[in-house]
């Protein structure tokens, strides 16, 4: 029996050791996490790829796949999200204890399930408020991926690609910021709350996230330094302007102008009326209470205010899902945190007529093993898991896909990561196959292999 006070970090390490042991037993050639053996993901379009170049295969894939054609038609449909709020469940949430309960199954665990506003669809008993807005949700129960290491999977689920040392793929927020952001808007289009999210990769730092460490805080350094007021700041700006003019005249360099433009934007942001969006203290007590007295609740409230003010992508992180030990108590606590926050967010957006134009996504980097380990925990499991979408452009009120009786593999309507990314980008009115030239001269699209899942589109 393993001691129960083992830390997550140590647990991860033991998993690595286990992988190493299996690797040795298999003659030095065993890939990835042990969990992922159970359900190898199939590559449904593998036949298209053979022998064709990247772009060509992409075109062919769309041509051959009716879902892609459907998605293309959808591109002209009126109901489109214009902004996205990603509720990021860091560490990998257990699907069996949240959106895909299997009460009574050997893998089901002690938690019960409750009915939702979707006929016949039940979710965990610890999401009563969400159950009540489930008519807006598309619960994707057939997610399946291949990365079982936190860092690699976090990269995959933020960018749609597995890590590759030759290229930095843009995160979803980066794509949205580049594609939907208004260059004239005086806040960054991409805000990350409670976590750094991932960069905009090769799209460039200007599309990267503005990071808010603690919800309720304004962005770092937007206020004057001690001893500086507006008058003095203006004097400093004048002095700096004189230096800049001279250096710019001397070198005539585009980089100096580029830098001055960034400084100009920074000063504009310092003075922007939209900064008020960060001040959740302005909200009525009742609203704050409804979202919950938690960082995540405050983050969701801030996300709504930011989207309302014109920010295009907000990621709010709920950490603490790496439940190798004491899974059920910890998962319950997590649900108690996000149930009021997510449900209130959806209702709040709806009341403000923003839900039709805002896509809300709930997901983490993978699911967790159906098998309950000796520490009452669940380990990493990318083979089958759940993600949730709600809001503009999403066909709500459904559970899409199905896992087997024990939650160990997807038996119906599997959604692979490229498909999820194609769906998200279609919902947001971005062409999933539009490709961008990378610095190494190779085109990369939001997703190269995916096609939007038409049943998830409104």
């Amino acid at each position: 029996m393993k001691p129960t006070n083992i830390s997550e970090e140590e647990m991860d390490y033991l998993e690595d050791l286990e992988e190493e042991r299996v690797r040795e037993e298999n003659g030095g050639s065993c890939p990835g996490p042990v969990d992922s053996f159970a359900t190898p993901t199939l590559d449904r379009r593998g036949f298209v790829k053979v022998g064709l170049g990247g772009m060509l295969s992409l075109m062919m894939a769309q041509w051959l796949d009716p879902r892609a054609a459907m998605a293309a038609q959808q591109a002209g449909a009126p109901k489109k999200a214009k902004a996205c709020i990603l509720l990021w469940m860091n560490g990998g949430p257990s699907h069996l204890d949240t959106w895909d309960p299997k009460p009574g199954a050997a893998t089901g665990g002690p938690l019960k399930s409750i009915k939702t506003r979707i006929p016949g669809v039940e979710i965990s008993e610890h999401m009563p408020q969400i159950a009540d807005v489930a008519n807006h949700l598309a619960i994707v129960r057939g997610m399946s991926s291949k990365e079982g290491n936190h860092q690699r999977a976090q990269y995959l689920m933020h960018t749609g690609y597995s890590p590759n040392p030759t290229i930095q793929h843009p995160s979803l927020g980066g794509w949205v910021s580049e594609e939907l952001g208004d260059p004239k808007f005086d806040l960054p289009s991409f805000v990350s709350i409670s976590g750094p999210s991932l960069s905009a990769g090769f799209l460039g730092v200007q599309y990267g996230p503005l990071v808010i460490q603690q919800p309720g805080q304004p962005p770092a350094n937007v206020g004057y330094a001690p001893g500086v007021n507006m008058t003095r700041f203006d004097m400093r700006q004048n002095a700096l302007g004189m230096l800049e003019n001279e250096f710019s005249a001397e070198t005539g360099d585009i980089k100096v102008k580029g830098r001055d433009a960034v400084y100009g934007k920074a000063v504009r942001m310092m003075r922007s009326p939209h900064l008020k969006a960060f001040e959740i203290t302005d909200e009525p007590e009742a609203v704050k209470t409804a979202y919950g007295d938690t960082n995540f609740g405050r983050g969701c409230l801030m996300a709504r205010r930011l989207v309302e003010s014109g920010v295009k992508f907000v990621e709010v992180v709920l950490d603490g899902w790496d439940t190798h030990t004491d899974n059920f108590n910890r998962v319950t606590k997590q649900m108690n945190t996000y149930d009021p926050a997510m449900a209130t967010l959806i209702k709040d957006l709806e009341e403000r007529k923003l839900l039709d134009s805002t896509l809300v996504i709930w997901m983490g980097e993978f699911g967790r093993t159906p098998k309950i380990n000796g520490n009452d925990g669940r380990d990493h499991f990318p083979g089958a898991w759940s993600a949730v979408m709600a809001g503009g452009g999403v066909r709500g009120g459904q559970a899409y896909g199905q896992t087997d009786a024990e939650g160990t593999k997807v038996v119906d309507k599997q959604v692979i990561v490229p498909d999820l990314f194609a769906t998200i980008s279609t919902v947001l009115g971005m062409n999933p196959s539009k490709s961008f030239m990378t610095p190494v001269g190779r085109p990369i699209a939001i997703t190269e292999k995916g096609a939007a899942v038409k049943d998830l589109l409104a």
Binding site: K49, N149, Q151, G227, T231, Y263, G441
Partner: protein, 609 residues
Amino acid sequence: MNWKHLFTGGAAMVACFAAGTAQAQSSATLKPAEIDHMVRAEWQKEGVVPAAPADDARYLRRIYLDITGNIPPAEVVSEFLADKSPNKRVQAVDRLLDSPGYVSNWTNYWDRTLMFGRVEQARVVDKGAFRLWLTEQFDKNTPWNKFVYDLITATGQNSIGGDYRKTRLGLVPASTTDADGHQINGATNWVLRFQGKPEDLSGTASKIFLGVQIQCAQCHDHKTEKWKQTDFRSFTACFVNTRPQPVNPEGFRDKMLKDYRMNLVDVNRPFVPRGKKAGNAAEYAASKPTALDGTDFSESANRRQGLAQWMTAKENPWFAEAIVNRMWSHFLGRGFVEPIDDFRPSNPTIMPDLMARLSDDFVASGYDMKHLIRTICTTQVYNLSSAPAGKTDPDNTLWARFRLKPMNPSQLVDSLVQATNTKPALEKYAGGNLDAIKLNVERQFSFLFDVDEEFEQKDFEGTIPQALLLLNGGIVNTSVTPIPGTALADTLTMPGTDAQKIEALYLRTLSRKPTATELTKWTQFLNEPREMVADNGAPQARPAQPMRPNGKAANAAGKGGKKMQAPTGFNPLARAANRIDPAFKTAKGQAYEDLFWALLNSSEFLFNH
């Protein structure tokens, strides 16, 4: 060896071939003048007018930033300007190459390049031991071929054990021997960081040391490119026999002992052809181990050594060119090939003949990095001003004027500390641990100034949070106040006129003397009527998120539930602010602070130009 079939045409690759055959020379012969002659011919051919030579002050600042990663101290600038010696520039380069700044700068450079981003096996990777190894190599000026060979083939123990994150932060004295008397080979940590992902090890080694992006062939074959998936698998197969073994298996499995010391060994199994297996690593293990030209290591006693010999051999056309291109790009702001690590026939090379000539000479010098740097820094091309003269190619691909380079995070932090002379104050008020504090500050800057140095920067890639940090952040704003012993306090205390004080601030920040116009303008600025602004609250002594110097915050998207917190707001100088002499708290004192602030926020300060 058969190199010829590699070259699918194109002048660049023909030049590569020429480079590979020229190793008969026993010593380096290339003179900087020969480089200048070749570049000048190219300018004439393209009708490009080069800029005038940079003046002494600008040249000195440039070599300081490029060779040591820091701006020159003000007194060094003054001495250099007063020096009448005709070859003072060459002498200055030689002095810097022998300075501790050279060692720390290139340790930083290769630490960034080789240990960048996420490290998947974080617990077994002792980054402190790796840095120590790097320091030793640059201190000894290890020949580049030996450096790369030792890195690729590294075996032995990774760490002295214990909480080695502290070693990296300078909290524990660095050592190359552990308590059990075992010798450490810090280089092993680079291989260990890819443990379980041999394809990332092979892809990174090929990209950085050969400039060949073979990993692009990992996913699928590209019609137009040379490398196929099978090439990539075979190359990766050279790395699959490397294994870490716990030095103390008991302590390794014991959660309390946390003994993560590892012995990196090669399990040298000969290659046996097997049926193709599905799955990631199995694919590589089932592939025949070969180099990029097909050299077969199936029978090799040690594949990794075989491959490293092949990689660093004089005959290898990529090896010398990849590093020469990288160094040229570091100093001149644009490589012959861009991105610097993407050599392929379809990616054109600027002046392939010059790149080949430099590579030949580098090989002939015995892969001497200092020789290469000295050669580049003493060319007229490197000596040009950044101000254009007459008709200049707008893209400036031919280096006809010096290309502006934004400082990277470590250059920026070091230069800010140098210009404001806050190091003694940091030591005094922040209670020692200067390295740990600097690392924390640098981390704050790194997070916000994450520039990709592998790519030529055509435009300024900056962000709003970066600008806000410099405009309003605690570090800059506290450093420009007259804290006792720092730059502004010393400037205000020195006898002399406003003009002399302005000059002192210019020498400290922009590393040059102000012009007459600038003196007039700033004298006027300092003496304009203004009101003193009262402190609107004590500066934040503690960051919103307490930063502990334990290295944890450095891991972006850390393993498990632990997300990195963006380290903003850390200001070790905040406590020193209340020691400021009240005599300086005047309207004019604030005007000086404002001038100092503007100089540190200026493009002329923030670019290497």
